[in-house]
Symmetry: D2
């Protein structure tokens, strides 16, 4: 039985994580923490958990936490996470970090993209990126795992194998992503006030979103080839789900059919990637850890449509998948 704990248990990804862990036969939740000084019942924060999890959210105490937790899920904001991760990893707890603190290659990259201090710079570049479909051996051996960003998951899964295999050009890749509002977190802000985002669609972070560099670096890290991607996210009026429409130039003599066949073959043993003939929609993966992919010819370009649930495969499902891999369990436990 893996003893798990969540640092930062009040947000949407933490809730989704708890719901998955409650179904996990080989894990139990022993600690939940938040930055609030006063302890409160988890059911007061997430009323849907009433009668399902009888545990208080307490202040984070590294001694207590590391004594009672084998696998820590760190759901803290970017830049706040690395200090806790370093501390827990130093005490022998395996850590799956939801923040972006360990996703990029170097301190320089982190500083440039996030413009913040980093409490654990020596680990940067050594922490595996938590996509078991691509980095399984590294994840199996890791003490710290960088859980992927939601948009990057939807883009890297189809792109990385195509880049390494040379089936597409590595430049001029356009990634147009559409996300539900839960991706913005649980803190009320004007842009996410119901009457502001209902019945409306908007682009945001055009040319500046931090997931752009993450996508490019991870594809390059895995494939060995630098890529040039344009990434533009859009906010649409739904709670969960991401659909990314990815426009690529096929390499010479390549077609959408060949690309589709290659992806289906590449992922034939990956239980959470489904290559489909039908165009996918986010409802088909809602509440699941699947990534559905379809490929279409559009003129002389190829479009790849990729959908995930941003809270599951884009966050908490991937985290449990990573825990399963890191602790030697079947990858799909609690996720199918």
């Amino acid at each position: 039985m893996i003893r798990t704990g969540i640092v930062g248990a009040t947000g949407y990804t933490a809730l989704e994580l708890i719901l998955i862990l409650l179904r996990h036969p080989d894990a139990r939740i022993t600690r939940l923490t938040s930055r609030s000084p006063e302890s409160q019942s988890i059911a007061d924060v997430h009323p849907c958990l009433r009668n399902r999890l009888d545990l208080d959210i307490t202040s984070y105490d590294p001694d207590d936490f590391s004594e009672n937790v084998d696998c820590a899920f760190c759901c803290l904001p970017h830049a706040a996470s690395s200090a806790v991760v370093r501390e827990l990893a130093g005490r022998g707890v395996r850590v799956i970090d939801f923040s972006a603190d360990y996703r990029l290659n170097s301190l320089e990259d982190f500083t440039s993209v996030y413009q913040a201090e980093h409490a654990d710079p020596n680990r940067l570049g050594k922490v595996p990126y938590g996509l078991p479909e691509l980095f399984r051996p590294q994840i199996e051996a890791a003490d710290v795992i960088a859980n992927p960003g939601c948009f990057p998951t939807s883009a890297i899964l189809p792109l990385a194998p195509l880049v390494r295999e040379g089936l597409i050009r590595t430049s001029d890749i356009v990634i147009d992503s559409k996300t539900g509002v839960s991706g913005a977190g649980r803190t009320p802000k004007p842009a996410f006030h119901f009457p502001e985002c209902n019945e409306s669609v908007a682009a945001y972070g055009v040319g500046t979103h931090r997931h752009g560099p993450e996508i490019a670096q991870i594809i390059e890290r895995w494939s060995g080839k630098p890529v040039e991607c344009l990434f533009v996210p859009h906010l649409i009026p739904m709670t969960r789900g991401i659909l990314s429409t990815i426009y690529v130039h096929p390499a010479e003599n390549q077609t959408s059919d060949g690309i589709a066949r290659f992806l289906a073959d590449f992922y034939r043993n990956s239980p959470f990637v489904r290559c489909t003939d039908q165009l996918p929609q986010t409802a088909n993966v809602s509440g699941t850890n699947f990534c559905d992919l379809a490929v279409r010819q559009v003129g002389n370009r190829v479009a790849i449509i990729s959908v995930i649930d941003n809270l599951v495969k884009g966050a908490s499902g991937a985290a449990v998948q990573n825990m399963n891999v890191a602790f030697g369990l079947p990858e799909t436990v609690a996720l199918r």
Copy 2:
């Protein structure tokens, strides 16, 4: 007082048209028709019109219609429209056609894209495309006007001037559009059943949507330069609105700033095109005839964000704008 009539008055675009015409000081509605053999009150079909328009929907009779109508709005499906348009135009009624029957250059194009017969092939290529921002002189003189498609409006307005001016490359233009469900019309179908499209986003018609050729032909017709566009529409869970994200390669030495300035200058006298610094969202144009445009640099590409209300500037507002131009009224009457 312009006497107006609507052929095919039961759909969403007809309702939006009626609501605009009811505010028009120089127009009144004299005839509403549908293919149903039995006449019924317009308020039974569109309950929101109760006490606002006391008129029955009747069968279409060309004699009666042409005697009582100066300006006909033809809201029939593609391929069904041209027979009526020819008939009414032949009797001296000016016709604004909502279908795609007169938008493309030639019968060959129409047949290839719509795979249907055309009842008025001689007019093809001579009917102005109803974007007064680009084709005002032709619209002023026309007996038949091809009201633009909703997606094309959102794409042509920013692209055509940039292509003609040579500020962007004419190839490899990616148009990624997101539309509300009202664009699919009023007939219930599985894909538009509330539980199917709520909380979901999907791409559709990838590489095959009929608005792709329309966009390319109209840009070429106006600019004199052939363009190569990729167009992919997406269905998102809202009723009205279109946002198009358009990825272009700037011409050498061009930047997003220069492109933004050029567009702002080009449209400075167009009352319905607003070039904004802020990123637009569809809610900002909902219920209005505006098209909002913003430009951003994304790596070495430029992204243009364009939003319209698909039922207003994408259909019925444009139609009234066309009527205003064709009948010598100020372009903005009933639309501001």
Copy 3:
């Protein structure tokens, strides 16, 4: 030309009011104020107004405001409003107040329900309630008008005439209301964060909502008969609209048919109340100043279904209707 000004111009009701006033042939907007010390363009606050209203929001200055405004719309929060209303009324400006400060009968009632100070207690009980359908003579002569609450409008319009006429019992009236989220205002709060209220419905303020006493007092004020109402509001995932389901006991020998006929007859000359046979839905009145009513027998009870747009007939449309009445214009100007 009526010179109008809005005190508190940043919220949803102020925006809706501006959109209506822009269509008003006999009114123009001369002043917009907010509590922010820095002036800013109205289009920066409400981007949909770009190119439609070229006016800055400024600090409220009573001298400047009263010199330039004939009709003030006061869109301030409850308890904050009465000081401004008194000031402006004292300088001869006619004021339509959106707050609840002048709706109740007495200072005692106000203090008990709103638990706040009141800056203008002497006016309480003398200010007409702004439902022209019931209080037209008083509104015509008033210097200050208490614009009605949204829920009360949907309930008072059907109930008041039935109570006065004795067609229903005055006790045990149940008013179950469902509202869109714009009724909660524009300030982001957890309950109105998109992922919290999307795909969910909740009751709130059960037995304690401040509109309960308002409904009862106004019905009594107009009918002369005290009533006992239960009022429970619910928040549903849409932006605008209120539907109230009102359960009443018919008086002896009364039936739903008789009640329906009476209401239709009572409101036959009221341009904004539509008594319908079909069950109404809020979409039918969205964006309009209508209140649609239908009556049904349910066992030995009668249910009345009432729908309005909370931002129009429930707020800003009613305000312009009141202005029209107070300034001797036809009631429907700018509202049909």
Copy 4:
């Protein structure tokens, strides 16, 4: 291992049932049928099931079905169900019937409410109503179980114990229910077309909905006391969830506090009924088999707020709960 089969596997309740059964350690799905003559993969009908259930939907054959199924879930429309239920029960298959065919007391009641033939009239009145919270002993022994209606579940759970205990008056109970659109099934119809029900709320079946008699009969069957209920359902723009606001008169000397305490005590051993102090919202029970209840004083009345997920506790979760009870398993298997 219980072999389960679903008759009528293409709808929303069947999909929800499949998803629950896939998590059930003691059940497997062996047969899926539909009325379509051609067999097709379940993943073609419900794309979310791809790679999760490899089974074809076939024509219903009573011999094959009864040989391979221990527990049948019959998801056929009302009136179509009883012929199949009789056939399967006659062959020794235990049947959980989703239709209303066996919910009412007598053939006369069924004919009066559903105005249809019944193929198995002798069983009427002998089949237990599938609310294990109230009818557990009967369910344990039953060959056929009438799975409850969604609205009735939300109303009967709070009302039946209060009626039997005499804590509320048995007359003049008002049940005002709000439901998501999935309750209307999967067949596209105008009222459930996205642009028609999005951004709108409507009452329907006012005074005539078939769940009214079901609520009253089951309360009476369990409590031994006849009740008089008014039931009015409303359609709101969300996919899943029901909230019922129930207005009752407390018996003499009873208050909301006493009623709340009684309900909490009554359901203290029912794992799926949660009595809460906080007002519930449907999101708190979405995707779960819980019914959350809260009680409030409103004037001299008491309001009870009850929420369920219409597809889970209102349909497929209840069905699996019934199977668990009927087959001697813990009630909560696959449901927590």
